[in-house]
C-alpha cells in the first residue's frame, strides 16, 4: 500500500517535471512544425539563471517567496531574450526547408549554446537547494513529502490550465489554432503568420526556461543537463502526439507513472522504461496517442 502510494506521488512529481519541459517543445512543434533540439539549451539556461538568482537571494536577506519569484523571473527573462534572438537571428532563414534539416539547424545551435553556457557560468556545478530546504517537508502517515514537490505539481497544473484557457478563450489562442490547422489559409485571411511564429517560439523558450528554473533546486546545475532533457521531452511528446498540449499532459502522466513504478518495483529497467513505453505506444498508434490521422497527399 505504501509502495503504491509512493509510486503515485513520485510519478505525479516526475510527470509534473516532464510536462513542464515537454509543453514548450510540443507548442513549438504544433505551430511551427519544428522539432526544437535547442529546447534543452532553454532548459539549461533557465536552470543556470535560477541558480544565479538563488545565489543572489541567499546572500541578501530576502524573504523566501521573493527569492523564488526572482528565480522564475530571471529564468523567464533569459528564455525571452534567447528565444527572440534565435528565432529572428537564425531559425527564420531555415523556414521552408525539410523538417529534418531544420532539426539539424537547431542541433547545431544547441552545440554552440552548450559552450556558451560554459563560457558564461564556467565549468563548475552550482547548487541551488535553498528554496527546496526553505519549503520544508510534510508528513502524511509514514510518507514524507517535500512541499517543494507539491508546489511543482501545482505549477505544472497551473501551466496546463493557463495554456488550455489561453488556447481556447483568448484571441491570440484562437489565431494560433487557426495557424496550426492551416498556415496558408490563415495567412490568406490576413493573419500575420511571421509574428505568430516569433511569439510562439518565444513562449516556448520561456516555458523551457521555466522548466529549468523550477527544477534547479532539485538537481545539481552542471554542464550537460540539457542533453538528457531533450531526449526525455521528445519521448514524452511523441508518446502523447507531437504538437498536442493534451498529448503532452497525458504523455507525461503515463511516462511519469511508468518510471516511478519501475524505480520502485524493477529498478534495473529504470533507465530505458521511458523509451520502451514510447516505442510500445508508437507500435499501436504510429503518430502518438492524440494526433489525428492525416490524409495521404498524392
Amino acid at each position: 500500500m505504501l509502495t503504491a502510494f509512493a509510486i503515485l506521488t513520485d510519478g505525479l512529481v516526475y510527470a509534473a517535471y516532464l510536462f513542464l519541459v515537454a509543453v514548450g517543445l510540443t507548442l513549438i512543434f504544433g505551430v511551427m512544425k519544428i522539432l526544437n533540439v535547442t529546447h534543452g539549451s532553454f532548459y539549461a539556461f533557465g536552470a543556470y539563471g535560477a541558480a544565479t538568482a538563488v545565489g543572489i537571494y541567499a546572500n541578501a536577506d530576502w524573504p523566501d517567496a521573493a527569492g523564488f519569484l526572482l528565480m522564475i523571473a530571471l529564468a523567464m527573462a533569459i528564455g525571452l531574450m534567447l528565444g527572440l534572438v534565435l528565432e529572428r537571428g537564425i531559425l527564420r532563414f531555415a523556414y521552408g526547408r525539410d523538417e529534418v534539416v531544420v532539426v539539424l539547424v537547431t542541433y547545431a545551435v544547441f552545440l554552440m549554446l552548450e559552450d556558451v553556457i560554459a563560457l558564461i557560468w564556467g565549468r563548475e556545478s552550482y547548487g541551488a537547494y535553498q528554496p527546496m530546504v526553505a519549503a520544508g517537508n510534510i508528513e502524511i502517515g509514514d510518507l514524507v513529502l517535500s512541499n517543494y514537490d507539491i508546489g511543482l505539481v501545482a505549477i505544472a497544473a497551473l501551466v496546463a490550465g493557463l495554456g488550455y484557457w489561453a488556447l481556447k478563450h483568448t484571441r491570440y489562442g484562437r489565431l494560433l489554432t487557426v495557424v496550426i490547422f492551416d498556415r496558408e489559409t490563415a495567412a490568406a485571411f490576413g493573419i500575420n503568420v511571421k509574428v505568430v511564429y516569433t511569439v510562439t517560439f518565444v513562449i516556448g523558450a520561456m516555458l523551457g526556461a521555466l522548466g529549468g528554473a523550477v527544477m534547479a533546486p532539485k538537481i545539481s546545475v552542471t554542464l550537460g543537463i540539457g542533453v538528457e532533457v531533450i531526449v526525455l521531452a521528445f519521448a514524452v511528446v511523441v508518446t502523447g502526439g507531437l504538437g498536442s498540449i493534451e498529448g503532452a499532459l497525458i504523455g507525461s502522466l503515463i511516462v511519469g507513472l511508468c518510471r516511478a513504478a519501475a524505480v520502485h518495483l524493477v529498478p534495473q529497467i529504470e533507465l530505458f522504461v521511458i523509451y520502451a513505453v514510447m516505442a510500445l505506444v508508437l507500435v499501436f498508434r504510429p503518430y502518438g496517442l492524440f494526433t489525428q490521422a492525416q490524409p495521404r497527399k498524392i
Binding site: Y107, A235, A276, R296, I298
Partner: protein
C-alpha cells in the same frame, strides 16, 4: 564496370594505402577511426537519399562493436575476419528485426523511434555490470589469419584492413546506387505514394535500405572497437548518432566518396578544434554545421560539382 568514377576511387584508395607508412602515427590512427566511421555515414547516405534520417544509428554501431568485444572476451577468437563478419551480421540481424517496425515510419517519427531504440540499448548496457557498466571494457587487438603483429606494424596492418573494407563497401554501395532499388531512393523521398502506384512496395524497399545501413554501421562499429581497443555504452548514446548525422549533412549525399572524405574532414576539424580551443570546440562544430546547412544544402560534396570542368562529366549527380 571500370567506369572513370570507379577508377578514380580505386586510385584514391591506393594512394591512401601507399602513403600510410610515411604518415605520422597519430594521423594513421585518426584516419583508421575516421574511415571506420565513414562506413556508418555511408549507410546514412543510403537512407538520406530516401529522405530518412535516423537519430539512432548508434544502435547498430554499438551492436557491431559489442559483438566483436564479447566474442573476443568469451570465446578467445581474435581473428579480425571472423569477428568483423560476426559484428556486421549481428548488426544486420538487429536491423532486420527492428526494420519491421522502423520501415513503417517516416520523417521525425522515424528519427525519434530509431533514437528510442538506441537509447534502450544504452540503458541495457549501462545497467549491465558484468560488461563494465558505463566504463565499458577492454578489447584485445585482433589477429589477421594467424598473423599477429604488434605495435606500429599492427596499427598499419589494421589501417590497411579498414581501407580495404571501405573500398569494398564503397564499390558495393556504388553498384547498389546504380541498381533499380538504389535509384528508387529519390522518388521515395519526393513522393512515395506514386512509387507505390508503380507497383513497388516502399516498405520493403526501405526495409532493405535499413538492413544495408545497419550492416555498414555494424561493420563500422566493429572496426572502431578493434581500432581503439575499447567499447563503452556511449557508443550507443544519441550524441554518437547525432555525430554521424552531422557528418552526413556536412558531406552531402551526392556521392559515395563524400562519406569518407566528410568523415576524415570531421575528425581532423574536431581534433584541431579541440587542440586549439579546448573550451569552445563545440561552437566551432556548430558553426560549421549551421553554415553548411544554410549556404551549402548539398554538402561539401556539392562543391566538386560546382567546378565548371567536372560539371559536364558528372551531370546531375
Amino acid at each position: 564496370m571500370m567506369t572513370p568514377r570507379t577508377l578514380a576511387g580505386a586510385l584514391a584508395f591506393a594512394v591512401l594505402a601507399v602513403a600510410a607508412p610515411f604518415a605520422p602515427a597519430w594521423l594513421v590512427s585518426l584516419a583508421t577511426v575516421a574511415f571506420a566511421n565513414g562506413l556508418v555515414v555511408l549507410g546514412l547516405v543510403i537512407l538520406w537519399r530516401a529522405g530518412l534520417v535516423p537519430f539512432g544509428q548508434a544502435l547498430f554501431y554499438a551492436t557491431g562493436a559489442y559483438t566483436v568485444a564479447l566474442i573476443g572476451r568469451y570465446t578467445g577468437v581474435h581473428d579480425v575476419f571472423v569477428t568483423l563478419a560476426a559484428g556486421a551480421a549481428a548488426a544486420g540481424l538487429v536491423a532486420f528485426l527492428t526494420g519491421f517496425l522502423l520501415a513503417r515510419y517516416r520523417d521525425i517519427f522515424f528519427a525519434m523511434l530509431s533514437l528510442a531504440m538506441s537509447m534502450i540499448l544504452y540503458g541495457v548496457l549501462v545497467k549491465t555490470e558484468t560488461l563494465g557498466s558505463t566504463d565499458g571494457f577492454h578489447v584485445e587487438s585482433g589477429t589477421f589469419l594467424g598473423f599477429a603483429p604488434a605495435g606500429a606494424l599492427h596499427d598499419l596492418a589494421f589501417y590497411w584492413l579498414v581501407l580495404a573494407v571501405c573500398a569494398l563497401a564503397a564499390l558495393q554501395v556504388a553498384i547498389y546506387f546504380d541498381s533499380v532499388a538504389g535509384m528508387l531512393g529519390a522518388p521515395v523521398r519526393d513522393n512515395e505514394i506514386r512509387v507505390e502506384f508503380l507497383g513497388i512496395s516502399v516498405n520493403r524497399l526501405i526495409h532493405l535500405k535499413l538492413v544495408i545501413a545497419g550492416v555498414l554501421a555494424g561493420l563500422g562499429g566493429a572496426l572502431a572497437a578493434l581500432a581503439v581497443e575499447h567499447v563503452d555504452p556511449s557508443m550507443s548514446y544519441w550524441t554518437t548518432s547525432g555525430g554521424f548525422v552531422f557528418v552526413t549533412i556536412l558531406a552531402g549525399a551526392g556521392s559515395v566518396a563524400a562519406a569518407f572524405v566528410g568523415s576524415l574532414v570531421f575528425e581532423l576539424v574536431r581534433s584541431i578544434a579541440v587542440d586549439l580551443f579546448p573550451g569552445e570546440w563545440q561552437i566551432a562544430l556548430g558553426t560549421a554545421l549551421l553554415l553548411t546547412i544554410l549556404l551549402l544544402p548539398g554538402g561539401l560534396g556539392s562543391l566538386v560539382g560546382r567546378l565548371p570542368r567536372l560539371k559536364r562529366k558528372t551531370g546531375a549527380a
